[in-house]
Assembly symmetry: C2
Homo-oligomer: 274 residues x 2
């Protein structure tokens, strides 16, 4: 089976930066997983003894703590600072930006609308910077049910789809007198999505590699599926199934922003051997 | 011939207000036409001796001056104030708003994008409130040729089409990190456009009454034409042509925001008599 990789795929700037920071803090603790890739988290544990703790109360005094790429809620950061001064902030700078926008815009009296998944850690973190309760919506339908004020500021989870973001922006522009739109979807997300879309159009079968809890990986899967019916989302090579490639000629491969190359390489080699 | 009027048509709040103000200032001078309807301007002259002067330098000292609904450039207002203190501002409040937005946003360093016709007096007035040269575009294609900065504020001429406004907004959201969108299209424009669209769908022939230099009248014509092929734009009954109604059953009528009822009534009666 012939394999073609997407022009852009895998690790983004923020993930690469976070891993480098974590590798420099052996024996550190991350509050929740550093990135959404269980296997890379496991590698950090094995090679650097960087461990995950989901519960802030369990983190020992003066521990070496690393903040995950998705950021954490403002209150958690405050609590953490009371416990230790050894904090390494691996929050992706593209996530710090919407946090700061929420803080500033809500202080100026804007109603904040966040296009994102309310259960995602990035969104939980961003939300915590709003002075008032922000409206968090996953699609236009959800927004239509909500009451809006005249002045609205709109931001997006960094890994969301631009077309759906624009649908929401258009609704707000029609219904509010001022809509301040901050395009906080990150470029790596754009580039990976564009490349996956183009590749999906030219292949018979498409494989997306990434964590199943990863928002940007899910986007890549959804976008690819639109253009290539035989599309699969896997976490690593062990989930591959030879049947998928029967009678196919060309397999496209892309990977989420938190998928390390060593996992992708193994997937590509396995498919090539079918 | 049966005639059906659009649910909303004709005089908007701003025009009604301006005419009332002009009628209260007998012998006054308007700097350029008060509204875009030559016949109503003529009536104001005949009934109230309110005359039009296009040239600010010809306006006598201490004259009674009325500012047109479309507003005038900031510099002209300044020059006018040097000549007379007897100024009645009939600028539509929905036009004063984009003027104020331009002034404030350009002072804050935003690049101003105006969706509008650079030759229209309203746009000339609004532009004059920008500290820096604003970008004025009539469509998305024109915008694509221009260089944008990171922070952009978008406003619209009050009588423009919302769909085209959103096309421009979407392009800016994709290409700028912050796009501050002020929906300055006025409600009367929305309502008249919606009503014309609905009516055009159910009639055999459609007649739009309004000044040929009127932006909102032209919009009504364009929108109606999309849904009813036999669509005509006239300034008054004298332009009607019996041939238009041959073999037709139902004629829809709408009118621009500056078209007085006495003109519309005459058009409706003439069509009914065919």
């Amino acid at each position: 089976m012939r394999v073609k990789l997407a022009k852009n795929y895998g690790f983004c700037f923020g993930v690469r930066r976070a891993i480098k920071l974590a590798e420099s803090k052996s024996n550190g603790i991350t509050l929740g997983p550093l990135i959404h890739n269980a296997k890379e988290i496991n590698r950090l544990k094995e090679d650097f003894n960087v461990v995950v703790n989901e519960n802030i109360e369990e983190i020992p005094q003066n521990a070496e703590v690393i903040i995950r790429t998705h950021g954490i809620p403002k209150q958690d950061l405050q609590r953490l600072k009371e416990k230790t001064s050894k904090i390494t902030d691996a929050t992706c700078p593209f996530v710090t930006k919407p946090q700061a926008i929420c803080e500033k815009m809500s202080a100026q009296g804007y109603q904040i609308v966040i296009f994102g998944d309310i259960k995602h850690p990035e969104v939980k973190g961003v939300m915590s910077y709003c002075e008032n309760n922000p409206l968090v919506v996953e699609n236009l339908e959800a927004l239509k049910a909500l009451k809006l004020t005249e002045k609205v500021a709109l931001i997006s989870q960094t890994t969301k789809n631009i077309e759906l973001f624009l649908e929401i922006a258009n609704y707000l522009i029609r219904n509010c007198s001022e809509c301040r739109v901050f395009n906080t979807i990150c470029n790596a997300t754009f580039d990976n999505q564009d490349s996956a879309r183009n590749l999906a159009k030219e292949v018979d079968v498409m494989v997306i590699v990434g964590g199943k809890n990863s928002s940007n990986t899910k986007q890549l899967y959804n976008i690819s599926k639109e253009h290539c019916q035989d599309c699969y989302l896997i976490e690593d090579f062990s989930e591959l199934n030879a049947q998928w490639f029967k009678d196919k000629k060309l397999c496209g491969v892309s990977a989420g922003a938190s998928t390390p190359n060593w996992i992708i390489d193994k997937v590509v080699k396995t498919i090539e051997n079918y």
